[in-house]
Symmetry: C2
Subunit: 691 residues, 2 copies
Amino acid sequence: MLLFTWLSAKPENDVVYYPNRILKGLDTGLRTRNPVSWIKEALSATEDDIISMSGVDTAVYFVYLTTGIILTILLVSGIVLLPMLLPVSVTDHSVRLTNTTSNGTFDQLDQLSMGHVGQSSPRLWAYVIGIYLVSIVTYYLLWKAYKHVSDLRATALMSPEIRVEQFTILVRDIPNPPEGETRKEQVDSYFRSIYPDTFFRSMVVTDTKEVNKIWEELEGYRKKLTRAECLYLRSKTVGNPEGVRPTNRIGFLGLCGKKVDTIEYCNEKINELIPKLEAEQKITLREKQLSSALIFFSSRVAAASAGQCLHARMVDTWTVMEAPEPRQLIWSNLSLHFYERQVRKYVVYIIVALTIVFYMIPIGIISAFTTLKNLMKLLPFIKPVVKITVIRTVLEAYLPQIALIIFLSLLPKLLMCLSKAEGIPSESHAVRATSGKYFYFTVLNVFIGVTLGATLFSTIKEVEDHPNSIISLLAASLPANATFFLTYVALKFFVGYGLELSRIIPLIVYHLKKKYLCKTEADLREAWAPGDLGYATRVPADMLIVTIVLCYSVIAPLIIPFGIVYFALGWLVLRNQALKVYVPSYESYGRMWPHIHTRILAALVLYQLTMLGYLGVKEFYYTPILFLLPIASLIFAFICSKKFYRFFQHTALEVAGRELKESPNMERVFRSFVPLSLSTDKVDYDHLGDA
Amino acid sequence: MLLFTWLSAKPENDVVYYPNRILKGLDTGLRTRNPVSWIKEALSATEDDIISMSGVDTAVYFVYLTTGIILTILLVSGIVLLPMLLPVSVTDHSVRLTNTTSNGTFDQLDQLSMGHVGQSSPRLWAYVIGIYLVSIVTYYLLWKAYKHVSDLRATALMSPEIRVEQFTILVRDIPNPPEGETRKEQVDSYFRSIYPDTFFRSMVVTDTKEVNKIWEELEGYRKKLTRAECLYLRSKTVGNPEGVRPTNRIGFLGLCGKKVDTIEYCNEKINELIPKLEAEQKITLREKQLSSALIFFSSRVAAASAGQCLHARMVDTWTVMEAPEPRQLIWSNLSLHFYERQVRKYVVYIIVALTIVFYMIPIGIISAFTTLKNLMKLLPFIKPVVKITVIRTVLEAYLPQIALIIFLSLLPKLLMCLSKAEGIPSESHAVRATSGKYFYFTVLNVFIGVTLGATLFSTIKEVEDHPNSIISLLAASLPANATFFLTYVALKFFVGYGLELSRIIPLIVYHLKKKYLCKTEADLREAWAPGDLGYATRVPADMLIVTIVLCYSVIAPLIIPFGIVYFALGWLVLRNQALKVYVPSYESYGRMWPHIHTRILAALVLYQLTMLGYLGVKEFYYTPILFLLPIASLIFAFICSKKFYRFFQHTALEVAGRELKESPNMERVFRSFVPLSLSTDKVDYDHLGDA
């Protein structure tokens, strides 16, 4: 925080600490060394500010964090501090704790935990009531949150502003056109006959692989040219008024080959490529039409209604959906066929399932090897370093966690690739899919994997014989791993949010780039581009904390304050980042929420099941009374998805039917969907209209 | 058949044998004693004839019967007569059949069955291939049939004729109107804002309980009056030109109380009731508006699109669906609320599940008691009758089956009531729901219940320990019950189709009614009203035969010819009945098919599982190779429902977008949905328009 206060006050760092405000053309705020000012700003910002600065998706993310905060605070009051639970635990002297959950340093707190209550003691009733309370209030919170997010989405969708994607639908799986008709004519006549009044025009998706390649080459040369011109200009110093014309080699990687004058060479190449691009554009538009199209409607209701209706008799032809924003379209996925998408989906599911199962093995090995004792045996040369007490303490506490975190950071990219390979047509959907996969991965591997850890392998036979015993096994192994997860959560918010707020790594990278690489204004802008919040990993990471805190709340209550700090700090830091740093790369109008909702419920069910197991381990006679809870959670999930979910799939007509500020400029709507590589001034519009 | 030929030739029986033609205003055909003529007619009728005489639903039913015929023929060729299977069974002399499946009378045929092949003989490979063949060809047939039915449905839906239900949608779960607005205004403004061009008008559903009661009373008196007038007219014979004015008592059931002149009394009552009805109509329209409405659109596409779009943000408000035909609306269910419908649905499911489980007990008892020996013990007075050989033989063969059939005939009414209690808004949907329940009932109780029968109770402990053993148990008990099901199928087509074709019971009832009860023309017409085909019981009954024939095809191949006769005879007889007798009471455009499709697949899966078990009993080493088949069936079911099902839920827009013969008379469309009790000439239309 100190670093942040110090660094952010320097004007030359503005582009690192206020990029969102700069890009929006706002001033960068009062620069003061007062370390509280950013906190005040974050606290005073309203939800509307967030939406206007960072979009509905970010606002939804804060709804999630708020729910997390309330949930953890509630855990304290519901389970630990609740007047009835405290005396219940503290005054029970029937058990002497032998394997304390916190390495003997937090004896006082351990007295609050359920471990302190005797086997099959009637005092456990208090915990049963506590678990019920937590569950019921979670339902209430989730219900309120879902309703609130639904309102946010509706407000955004019925805004009188014109948003191009609200006038557009995406049609896939168009059958082959009949003899003597082009794809374009086929699509036009099909939709014109169904929507004679509201159909505006169509844009057939084309295979842009070739034209993209040429366009990228062209852009590359253009960039090179500006850079070379910049360098040339700068070399014209007083001492050398002619300047040095920059040169480069044209061979492999610029290392060998003939030496040429860069400016001349680039100009030559550009002049060569422009007609080639234009020719390729024409060919693409005429001959490379694929089996999908974007359809533009002149009214919002018509598009919203067309995006959710069944058009053809066979569901695998003319499949429609609401178009995503132009910037988040994944063009290469648009033309995959129905069955290809289905098959890809299931193949990806299988791959992900295999990944989840087999990642467990390296994680298990890591947690076995990264104890300090083992490391010293394996790598004797680190012994002298380890003997220093400070380093030793830090390593002992954090080594396995650091290993785990590094290991996990490799995964999201893989999962994102897999999600895109499913054939998902929009970036935001791919992010949601990745986030879901990552959640199951972390919960199954990190939480359950680490917890069961070595015990699992020794007792795998037992599990095979009695599959139900996995829950009681999990419950029995939980206490032993409390310390691990405590440090895990602490590390996450100390290091994680510290790095997040101070932005040391982007700062260093920016300054290095500025010094050594960036030649032009565009280069600089690229160097400080802040990116977006990265929901694909952020949401499941938070979800893992929710799961850990929930499941350990009764066993090792010490984890609850850590959880509160995590969510409160996260809320504060990210509010600052959302307002000032990150620039959203898409807007999905809160479609992330149903996923978050389901996963919080999944965490709750896991909590309920572990509690069931833990009370079973305590030989509490009335444990079966807790069986009602997972069932109640499933019913709740079912009702929520029935009531709310469809509106997150489609736009409700009453929302789309609100009046607009002005009638839309349909030509502009159409143009905004033309891919960059096809939209040059040279290609005449009429021709473009044909595809 | 002889009875039919003889009776149907008499002109006075026309109304029993040709009611559908009479009601359609067609001549009743050539009356000839040639017993072949009706067969010729049935055979020569095309699918279009069926559709024009009896609707798409009937045509779909024939698609089903045809599939059944092909399926059974295929079984013969695929399993029994297939060149490779015959020699395989016949030439295997390793087994001496001790418990033959056909009571020792069909030894020759038994040699064709799988029981004749030795334990774990490699010859069983031939059967594995046979089972695969049957499965694959079933998939092929079902795929073709689904496609064909989908075509039938599309053709019907895009007909240029005006069908009122295609311009109407049903809206339920309308929230309470805002202060100072009537329900009608609320609905109108809501839909007018979304569909400014195509919205025609709305009709709020009202609580017609009161008005219905008065209207029925009134109609009763009107009927009584016509009858009395008729009697009075007839009593004016030559001998008594004044006639006898009919009288009746107005007390309980017309048995006590004051004697009055019927004509006068009825006229008095009618005059009394008419103003009461009118007043009640006004009150109903004004004050008893409920939370659902019918919305009329001026275009078919608009209605089809509105019927499948999400209108409100919360899915539990403003829920829409395509309106069913006016004649099949179940008015009392229209205003049930979302959650009420959900809860009712699950409550009904639980009740049905309990019914299925506990009906097993009486059926078990019946099959134990209805052996002749037991009956003689219990009812000694039937001994003399039983001693006659003919009766004895018949009773021995058919007694348990008759008991079963009678027992089962009580069930459909109960299931229909339960289905309507679910809150289903249309008659055809209720029929489908009933048919589904009845299918699971018959398969679970009749087929599995009877097969396992007594064995189950003795081995229930074993099943508890190894739940998987139920399949092998089923397979092991199958052979013993082959005779029972053989006679069951035979009885079904001999007695069932005999009664069906000859219509002896409706004929007798009609003649009795005509002689003793019917006084007026309307009475007569009511007496010969033929009703519809009754899919609720007919479809699951046929499905049971499919299941039985499939599952026994390998074990007791004698059942296959019986199956063929059943379906072929059924096809022939019902084609006659559909063309000449039954009048469809609704048209759902083939929406029964997805249900039939799923259930045929369920029967196929059961077949595959029993074969798995039976080959297991035969200790065939490669049995696990059959595990692929149930999985393949599930994948096939999934693909079919993905590809075809949505069109059976909603009207595809390309279908609804076809041009109409003429623009619809919207006033007529609106009038056709007004319930009878509210549609008198006296209520002025404008007022009616308000609700």
